[in-house]
């Protein structure tokens, strides 16, 4: 998934101004409004964000220690730990477990990291059936598409789209009533849960001191995935740890509020090892795959702060670029500002060199990020990397000197942009049309320094939540 065959600009150009993208924009605005309400009713939000940032940065800075502690704790409660350098190793391990169990059916709860490693395709090649169980992911899987949002995967689809899809793929009468569609999915998926051989989940957090993993879902598919099948495999990016249960508590205070404005997700599920003697149910086997897949490279580089991300999706919802092009314009499951940093950092910058430019550097993402990740700074660091890699930069043409200056003097660049000029202009004038195409020069570069007619924050306040 790391080397897209098309560029961001090409994909974005297909998306912009389509009904699909308008649906994503509306959805993102709604989520932003919900977040705002959730944050307003929670006076401790700002101090919790500070604390959460400290916890995440501290964990990342001592990741070797916490990983070792976590692995020992998982094993102490009877779980198995596998360290995977890359996607192939992770998939290879899952395939071995599946083969040993003669597994035919795997249920999966929503997990970005299994998308990252292309797990479904790897397992399907062995003849194992994989069923996505998050309603949105299930719809995406049936439609053979990709999620357009990390929290709300089918934000781009209307109820009619889903009705037609279910009628076609599940052989049910057409309905566009969300309650009916919901019921159809419940019935279809329920029997698969109860018969599945293996449940594969991600992990929102791992707790180093106890070896627990925490999974949050509103639907309950996370709980079913980790309870019904005899074998549970959790795939976890290696940076997803927190040191203690108290630290997990801090994360939970801010995660659901930032994502959708909820005080807590409906099911906050903490799993510590397999079923124990006396437990009437639960999985007999518990495996954790700890995945590097480029993360140690990120950790040692200039964008390591992105490893603090807790995948709440808030930065997507406020991003003027994301909202104009949807998650489908990005080259991986990770989209929006977070994805624009993570994907070129994790994988090669080659093939992803446009992503660091898929941003107006307006800073809306930092304002909402629960762990206050300085995304614009990280994007600038990546731009610098693109600049230094002359070859990868040909597509920008000759008008890049402005960027070269900017990329090496980030503070001046941000100051120039803090007026929000680009944001307002971009939105009103159709931002994508002015993006540099692979064959063209960056003829509009002077626009970047034009002063704002209306400062960004004013514009934002006027428009948000509407």
């Amino acid at each position: 998934m790391s080397t897209p065959v098309t560029t961001f600009v090409e994909r974005a150009s297909r998306e912009v101004n389509t009904p699909k993208v308008r649906a994503v924009d509306a959805g993102a605005r709604l989520l932003t409004a919900k977040r705002l309400k959730g944050v307003e009713e929670y006076p401790a939000m700002d101090s919790m964000r500070d604390r959460a940032r400290e916890i995440r940065l501290h964990t990342v800075a001592h990741l070797d220690t916490y990983l070792e502690q976590f692995a020992e704790a998982v094993e102490a409660v009877g779980g198995k730990v596998f360290f995977a350098r890359d996607a192939d190793e992770a998939n290879g391990y899952i395939r071995r477990v599946a083969r040993d169990a003669s597994a035919e059916l795997i249920v999966k709860s929503k997990s970005m990291v299994t998308e990252e490693i292309g797990m479904n395709a790897a397992l399907e090649a062995d003849g194992v059936q994989i069923v996505e169980t998050d309603l949105g992911e299930f719809i995406v899987q049936l439609a053979n598409e990709r999620p357009s949002h990390i929290v709300a995967p089918v934000m781009h689809k209307t109820r009619q789209d889903v009705g037609e899809l279910f009628a076609r793929e599940l052989d049910v009468p057409y309905t566009e009533d969300p309650a009916e569609l919901n019921k159809i999915a419940r019935q279809y998926l329920r029997q698969r849960f109860l018969r599945a051989d293996i449940g594969v989940s991600g992990a929102n957090f791992g707790v180093a001191s106890t070896g627990s993993i925490c999974l949050v879902t509103n639907e309950g598919n996370g709980r079913l995935t980790t309870t019904a099948p005899r074998i549970h495999i959790a795939v976890m990016g290696m940076e997803r740890l927190v040191p203690t249960p108290g630290d997990l508590g801090v994360m939970l205070e801010i995660l659901a509020r930032s994502a959708v404005g909820q005080r807590l997700t409906v099911y906050t599920n903490v799993v510590t090892g397999p079923r124990r003697p006396g437990d009437p149910d639960g999985p007999d086997e518990f495996h954790v795959i700890i995945l590097d897949n480029g993360r140690s490279q990120v950790l040692g580089g200039s964008t390591s702060e992105i490893l603090a991300c807790i995948r709440c999706g808030a930065c997507l919802n406020v991003c003027p670029v994301y909202r104009e092009v949807s998650g489908h314009a990005y080259s991986d499951v990770y989209s929006g500002p977070m994805g624009a940093v993570l994907v070129p950092s994790l994988f090669n910058i080659e093939g992803n060199e446009q992503l660091p430019y898929a941003s107006t550097l307006c800073g809306a993402c930092v304002d909402v990020c629960p762990v206050r990740i300085e995304i614009p700074d990280l994007l600038l660091a990546l731009r610098q990397r693109v600049v230094e890699d002359g070859d990868a930069f040909r597509w920008l043409g000759s008008a890049m000197s402005a960027y070269k200056v900017a990329a090496t003097r980030p503070r001046a660049w941000r100051a120039a942009l803090s007026s929000g000029a680009l944001f307002g202009r971009a939105v009103r004038s159709g931002w994508v049309g002015r993006l540099p195409g692979p064959g063209g020069a960056w003829t509009d570069s002077r626009d970047l320094q034009m002063p704002a007619k209306e400062p960004f924050h004013d514009w934002w306040r006027r428009n948000r939540g509407s």
Binding site: R159, T227, R263, V266
Partner: protein, 218 residues
């Protein structure tokens, strides 16, 4: 990959890491000093806001109400000695509900055959070890006599919670010295019935977990 080699790689990366503020975590108190509130009232209000229902008063009578609302049917339950109301299981049986076997085999085929039968489970009866007033949540712990499925597969989940176990917030509960989230294989916070807003952000209840959540305060 070999663990030592993996960790050695991480160690090298950590040594090069330039993340800001990466020192030790501020150990200051996480539980703010707040003016006291009526925890039961707050719990009830917030739980109802997330589409749960709260019953106070006689627990067995509350069970009558639940069965009158949704009808009788097969139920999965925690064992009587794990519930704060000793007559609850027997009472549901008297109301015409049949208790389903909750012990799942460790033989793969027997396990599947057993679980497929959970398709008709109508009611789940559980206890709860804590409640959170600020979030309207209840905490359930797996273990002997406490099947996880009882709060997961039925359409209607009924939880018996002693009102004295309601804490102000999850952080307050975690700050208690006796709280241990890892001493059993599963601890779950449940905040209202199962919900989704995946299709056009329209709220729908009961997508995978229970559609109704009734908390009976003891």
């Amino acid at each position: 990959m070999d663990r030592d080699a993996f960790l050695a790689g991480v160690r090298t990366a950590v040594a090069r890491n330039r993340v800001p503020n990466a020192s030790a975590i501020d150990p200051g108190p996480l539980v703010p000093d707040l003016p006291p509130v009526d925890l039961v009232a707050m719990f009830s209000e917030i739980l109802e806001r997330v589409d749960g229902h709260v019953h106070t008063g006689d627990a067995l009578q509350a069970l009558d109400e639940v069965v009158a609302l949704y009808g009788a049917g097969p139920f999965l339950s925690w064992d009587t000695d794990r519930l704060p109301v000793s007559g609850a299981v027997a009472h549901l049986e008297e109301l015409g509900c049949g208790r389903a076997e909750a012990e799942v085999s460790n033989q793969p085929d027997a396990r599947k055959a057993h679980q497929v039968g959970y398709g008709d489970v109508h009611i789940g009866l559980t206890g709860a070890e804590a409640g959170f007033a600020e979030t309207g949540s209840i905490v359930l712990r797996s273990g002997l006599g406490r099947p996880r499925m009882a709060s997961l597969v039925p359409l209607i989940h009924v939880a018996l919670l002693p009102a004295a176990l309601i804490f102000r917030s999850p952080m307050h509960w975690l700050a208690e010295p006796e709280t241990d989230i890892a001493s059993d294989s599963n601890v779950v916070y449940i905040t209202g019935p199962s919900r989704t807003a995946d299709i056009e952000q329209q709220l729908n209840l009961g997508v995978h977990g229970p559609k109704e959540l009734h908390v009976i305060l003891i």
